[in-house]
Amino acid sequence: MLTARNLSKRFGPRLVFQRVDVSLGRGDFLLVTGPNGSGKTTLLRVLAGLAAPSSGELDLPPRRLVGYLGHEPMVYRELTPLENLHLFGRLYRVPERGERIGMLLERFGLWEVRRERVGTFSRGMQQRLGLCRVLLHEPELLVLDEPFNALDADGARLLDEALAELADRAFVVATHDPERVERLATGRIAFA
C-alpha cells in the first residue's frame, strides 16, 4: 500500500531526515517517535502525499484512500460538525453520507452538538471532530500526527477502540505517548 525507499527531506541547507525506508501493507502500524522538531511531522506529511521528498522513491496509494490528521483538527470553526462533515463527505465522494456522518458523530459523542458551531467547542471536542473527518471516507492508509492530542480520557478511549477496530488498515502514527499504542505497532521509526 505504501512503499518508501531511501527517503530524505531537506529545507534549504537543513537536513530533516535521510535514508528512511518504509513498507506498509494492510494491518501494519508504523509508530513514529522523537522529540519536538525531530522531523516526525515532516515525515508524516511526506508519507501522506502532502510534501514531496527531496530524494528517494515513494509509492503512495491514491488520495481517496488516505486519511490525514495533522496538529490541528482541520475543521472549519464557523461551521457545525454536520456542515463540516457534509462538505468533506462531498469532496471525498462518500456514499450514503448522511448515515455515515450520523454514525461517526454518535460514536465520538458529538451527535448532541451536531448543529452547534465548532468554534464554541473545546479543543478536545474539535479533535474528536477531526477524527470523524479522517475516518469519514474509510481510508485504507491513516496518517495521524499526535491523534491523542487534547483528548480527555473518554475521547482517548474512543480513539483506542477505533484504532483496534480498524486493525486491517495501514497506520502511520506519530506520538509523544508511545506506550498508548505500542501494543498495536508492527514497526517503529525513532527520531533522535
Binding site: G49, A52, M74, E78, L91, R93
Partner: protein, 212 residues
C-alpha cells in the same frame, strides 16, 4: 457535474463562513466608502471625470486586495488547506470555489461603492459598469491563485500584494481605458485578460498547492 457540485459546495462554504463571521464584506465596504470619501474631499473642485474614474479603479483594486487577503484565512488558521488538497476532487475546484466567493464579496462591495461614486463625483455609464464586472472576474481569478501562493509562505501579508498588484495593472489599464472613452477596444482587452489569466490560474492551481 461532479466538478461543478464540488465548486458549488466549496463556494457555499465560503459564503456561509462570511455570513457567520462577517469579517470580510464589512471591512471591504468600510474601506471602499472611506477611500471614496477621502478622494471626494482631497480632489480639488473641477477635477475631470477621467481623473475621478482613475481613483475609482484604484479604490476597487485595493478593496479587492483586502478581500483576497482574507480569502484563505480559514484554511490557513486550521491547517485546512491540507485537508482540501488531499481530497480526491479536482484541485482546481478549490480555486474556482474561492473565485466565486470572492467575486460575490467584491460584487457586494461594488453594489454600494458604485452608487457612492456616482453621488460623490459623476454618473457612471454602462461601459464603466461592464468594465467593472469584467475586471472583477480577472481580479478574482488572479487573486485567488496568488492568495493560495501567499498562504503557504511566512510573510503572506506582504507576499500577496507583491504578487497580485503587478498582475492587476492590466486590469486597471483596461478598466480606465474602457470607462474613459475608448470603450469597445478596452472591454475586449478585459475579456481577453479574463480568458487568458483565468485559464492560466485554473491550470496552475494544482501546482501552486502541491508542496515540493
Amino acid at each position: 457535474m461532479s466538478y461543478l457540485a464540488d465548486v458549488g459546495a466549496l463556494a457555499r462554504k465560503d459564503l456561509l463562513l462570511e455570513l457567520r463571521a462577517k469579517e470580510t464584506v464589512p471591512a471591504m465596504l468600510l474601506f471602499v466608502l472611506s477611500t471614496l470619501t477621502v478622494f471626494h474631499f482631497a480632489l480639488p473642485r473641477g477635477t475631470g471625470h477621467v481623473a475621478a474614474l482613475g481613483l475609482l479603479w484604484i479604490a476597487l483594486v485595493f478593496t479587492a486586495l483586502l478581500g483576497l487577503t482574507r480569502a484563505f484565512v480559514p484554511e490557513r488558521e486550521q491547517g485546512l488547506m491540507d485537508a482540501l488538497v488531499l481530497a480526491p476532487c479536482d484541485r482546481s475546484a478549490i480555486w474556482l470555489g474561492k473565485v466565486l466567493a470572492v467575486l460575490a464579496f467584491l460584487g457586494l462591495a461594488e453594489v454600494v461603492a458604485l452608487p457612492a461614486f456616482a453621488a460623490f463625483f459623476s454618473g457612471l455609464d454602462g461601459r464603466t459598469v461592464a468594465a467593472v464586472a469584467l475586471a472583477d472576474v480577472g481580479i478574482c481569478a488572479v487573486g485567488a491563485l496568488t492568495g493560495a501562493m501567499a498562504v503557504a509562505g511566512r510573510a503572506r501579508e506582504l507576499v500577496l500584494p507583491l504578487l497580485f498588484l503587478p498582475l492587476a495593472i492590466p486590469v486597471v489599464v483596461g478598466g480606465v481605458g474602457a470607462s474613459a472613452g475608448a470603450g469597445g477596444r478596452y472591454l475586449g482587452f478585459l475579456v481577453l485578460y479574463d480568458a487568458v489569466f483565468g485559464l492560466l490560474a485554473w491550470a496552475a492551481f494544482e501546482y501552486v498547492v502541491s508542496e515540493t
